[in-house]
Symmetry: C3
């Protein structure tokens, strides 16, 4: 279905931009210069897809072949940079609740989109029957970009410490696999992405966490 | 030999559980919640094998195809979690010498098993004649899980700072390659794993270190 | 052209030694023992090439098959170790401007060589027409070793914070691609490496940085 392919691409672009902005926001908070902001943003945006392609054996990974992911990431990072620069935002803005809420939203959208995109990439090929692979690949694709971002920025990865981060990704992957058989693929994708974002936003708001050992 | 395959699988399970527990123990020490404990434990358990499969070109890596590694890891991590929870262990326990000794033992078993498993995975195919590859692949498979664990937990990797960590892995790989021609494969595996564990336990006890530059 | 292949290999050796020494210098600064120094140095030296091979689908990566990279790295690291040891250098030397200048030079040479080597590895095969891939692959190969070094040593990667680090690599890759059509391949390689080193040395001296957001 060409419609599905277009929607997949549109979703990928949304996730790419969201993750690029989340990486740039971390870099800005770390007081890196424009180059560091671009590098961390782009790495976050393309990291998950690169890991996915290495895992399922696509050489070279898609984002090396199609420049659109890197170019779109760079454009949106530059726009964010200019907005903050032109507004003469106070450094306090970087510590504000609004900044953190925006960051979490970008991160959640990236997580949701890439989880679904990851599942989708083995949906119609000969690995389709492997249920575990589909879920695991979706989760790795979803969390990969943020994991690389946090490790490069020298922070404990969100996947380890943030309210039900990996659970949201697993829920999105399972939701997509179930809905895929019932709805058109495009609707199933969008609903699954929304589920992940809603879980993450609620989890942050209500500080959902699993119990600790001690 | 079916016996060898069964033993390889049994060893893999032992190494998987040991590394899963080592990752979970680090996460518990870092006061992560149950989700963080599961993620770090499972990542440690399957990380080395994933790196190995990416290096020798198995797509997708085995642990994406066979859920048993992740499932067994999760079960043992949950058991550890419950034991600590039910015992109302004091937080001091996490800093105790016993905790550290147990952690080092789990880490040593994982290191030994995955070193041997890594060597073994190219033992009977067309890469068998490459001696250097066999040793290097064994070492990377052995240290990979712990390396990912330490990097995600934001600690200097044990392979850089722990008493003769990489040496133990090299010794195990070489030992297995030599014994393989003399003994049955299963015996050679078990002896090599024991060698690695003994070296690591002695190295920690007697604080074996190589000289420093300054 | 055998001459070109020989020159490529000679350049690779120079870059390998430079990156090995840069990794060893970080490890010495971190007061690691000889084993940690060897591990970090060798990882830095072979890391970029390993990432490149995984990306373009060479299994197993070259440095697992040809021991020369690891062996040469180890020899030069041991020589560095002995020089510092024999000279009874004062610990202050490790914080000195000379040490940092030498480190930056080694890092710049490694960056330049591996950028060019990365571009070169797809110069004459069926991926040659993909301009974006060539540049991106060059940059990843160039920065990969240093990135792994900094992440293992628990430091914010130089690529994020150092004066125009990634820009120097991009400039080198573009320069090589342009010169390749005009000059003999060997001359183009050497000139491009020199360009990267000069940019990095000047950037450090004059503290070139891109603007910050705040």
């Amino acid at each position: 279905m060409p419609g599905t392919i277009d929607l997949t691409f549109a979703l990928e672009m949304i996730g790419t931009v969201a993750f690029a902005l989340s990486g740039a926001m971390v870099a800005i908070q770390k007081r890196l210069d424009l180059l560091g902001i671009l590098v961390l943003g782009i790495t976050t945006a393309v990291g998950g897809g690169m890991i996915r392609d290495l895992i399922i054996g696509i050489h070279p990974p898609m984002m090396f072949v199609k420049p659109v992911y890197v170019v779109v990431s760079a454009i949106f990072i530059l726009i964010l940079f200019l907005i903050i620069k032109v507004n003469h935002s106070s450094p306090k803005f970087l510590e504000s609740a609004l900044y953190e809420t925006l960051f979490n939203l970008m991160d959640a959208i990236g997580l949701g989109v890439f989880t679904v995109v990851g599942v989708n990439s083995v949906m119609n090929n000969d690995m389709n029957h492997m249920l575990f692979l589909k879920i695991f690949l979706g989760v790795i694709t979803g969390v990969g970009g943020g994991l690389i971002r946090d490790m490069m920025a020298n922070e404990t990865p969100g996947i380890l410490r943030k309210h039900v981060y990996a659970c949201a990704s697993i829920a999105g992957a399972v939701c997509y696999i179930i809905l895929y058989d019932w709805l058109r693929s495009g609707t199933a994708m969008v609903l699954s992405v929304i589920l992940v974002v809603v879980i993450r936003v609620l989890a942050k708001h209500y500080e959902w966490n699993l119990p600790k050992a001690l």
